[in-house]
Symmetry: C2
Subunit: 304 residues, 2 copies
């Protein structure tokens, strides 16, 4: 199976603690790295967990609260000091654009590479990125400021070659690519061997959804229906539901409800409020609604 | 002796490593805290080393390179989340002003306290702050962008009361304050007891100079002559003197030369380049010129 892996760099919330770093995570799809959110200290976390800086292609910022983006300028500077030359793509709410360019002018005047700013409309569900390996969609969320999540969808792989049948029909190696692309095989005697005999179906494309920060928002479910892994914020436990509402956050129970109703395979909760010493209560609470829940922790690596 | 203490929060240079945080240090004079520079992660370092966030009064930024200020917005936000109400004073090069206000507007819209921006002219030696406990001066440095160091001078203490003589002359408690301020004492019979008999001289006022980042700059010496403790950058060892010149930095030998020629009591070196695993070579090298050298390390606390 091709690589599709998420590494948690930070899963705390606004107030940094010694337990948790602010929001940041790496999505590695087939060796192409995307960073979602970039709280203060993200570059140190990348170093700590052995993330390959040069494989980073895109950065996605969910919203303009400091705990989701105050590490951005430091990371961009460091990539320059490390001698990066290939462009870096930054996807962030449009309100950030002028401040971002002003900071680039002040602090990154002689950068060795280009940072291309892509303004994101956080109110729409739409594809904002695609390449041969993946498509990335915005997921409108409901927070105190414009905010969206991100849905990473692997593009379908090519079928697997049935090596035994290839050998049996003496098909030359040079034809393998055509056959993976769907070609049938015509034997010397003119008989057709259909593609379905020569290949087995590819693995189903996988997906990962990142939803932080947001009020409990059941509208999300149809957009991420059947997602393999959902990361959903769970700032509070359910006894503080009113506080969650007040600050446009979710509780662990609410995160689990979204996972259940979206038919996810697995839920990762995070973005814990600094008032909790451990996320044990969040995890227990979420598991009552959706058993396949894990609690995020810095350094955790999840295969999607 | 009244408190005059420096805590190193970060003594690395531009490229953060797992050994060192970027530049930041706390100067505590009689319980009033100043922060000099504020690299990324400074607020986490303050937490790690038990610095009392609420006692912070002033922040001084030496220059606009990210490793000296990318932690600023995060710290300012956190102070708001912690419910600060008293004003915070920020002293920074004037070029930062518009970007700073734009970031404040974007990220700290509803802050519970005021941040007062004081533009600093880095080209002059001048007093930019004074209160009953201290005076703070700018020290013009020579770096790739406008940059200054800071000289913290304790204000002279009042003389100590000579308790034995006070008792001998039956001087009432209510007069002690006047005597500390310099008054003589007139006895009932009209005889004058001079102040010098009733008091002993105060401890000499102490001083601390922070000089980072800078080319080797002997002009500094008269400005900091007799300083108790000098923090001077030593990005490189002396074999890389040409590189130091190219990037407007100093070597350990050069830092020690400044300490020696400024008649400092003690030198702290820091701002080590990421190319070195340890600062052992820097320290050895500096000690050859100025034996009273210590190498900065995160968490180190120095009594001035």
């Amino acid at each position: 199976m091709e690589k599709f892996e998420v590494t948690i760099l930070g899963c705390g919330s606004a107030l940094p603690t010694l337990q948790h770093n602010p929001s940041a995570q790496i999505v590695d799809i087939r060796g192409k790295l995307s960073l979602i959110d970039c709280g203060e200290g993200t570059q140190m976390q990348m170093r700590r967990y052995g993330i390959h800086f040069m494989k980073l292609r895109n950065i996605f910022i969910s919203h303009l609260h400091g705990d989701h983006c105050f590490g951005l300028m430091g990371l961009i500077s460091t990539l320059g000091l490390l001698g990066r030359t290939s462009s870096l793509h930054l996807y962030a709410p449009i309100a950030f654009e002028s401040s971002f360019h002003e900071q680039m002018r002040l602090f990154c005047d002689n950068l060795s590479y280009e940072v291309i700013f892509h303004p994101v409309d956080t109110t729409k569900y739409q594809c904002i990125y695609s390449d041969r390996s993946m498509e990335i969609f915005t997921l409108p969320l409901n927070h105190r400021v414009p905010c969206c999540g991100f849905l990473f969808k692997e593009t379908p792989s090519l079928p697997h070659i049935n090596r035994r049948m290839i050998d049996f029909h003496h098909i030359p190696l040079s034809e393998i690519n055509n056959i993976r692309q769907g070609a049938d095989w015509i034997k010397a005697d003119g008989t057709l061997v259909p593609n379905s005999v020569l290949t087995t179906p590819p693995s189903a494309p996988r997906s990962y959804a990142y939803c932080s920060d947001t009020l409990f928002q059941p509208d999300l479910c149809p957009l991420i229906d059947g997602v393999n892994t959902l990361y959903h914020e769970a700032t509070y436990t359910d006894d503080l539901r009113l506080m969650a509402e007040k600050y446009y956050h979710s509780t662990a129970t609410q995160a689990a409800t979204i996972a259940r109703d979206a038919h996810a395979n697995q839920l990762i909760i995070g973005h814990y409020s600094a008032r909790y010493d451990t996320p044990h209560m969040h995890i227990e609470e979420a598991k009552r609604v959706f058993p396949a829940t894990v609690g995020a922790i810095e350094g955790m690596m999840v295969n999607i």
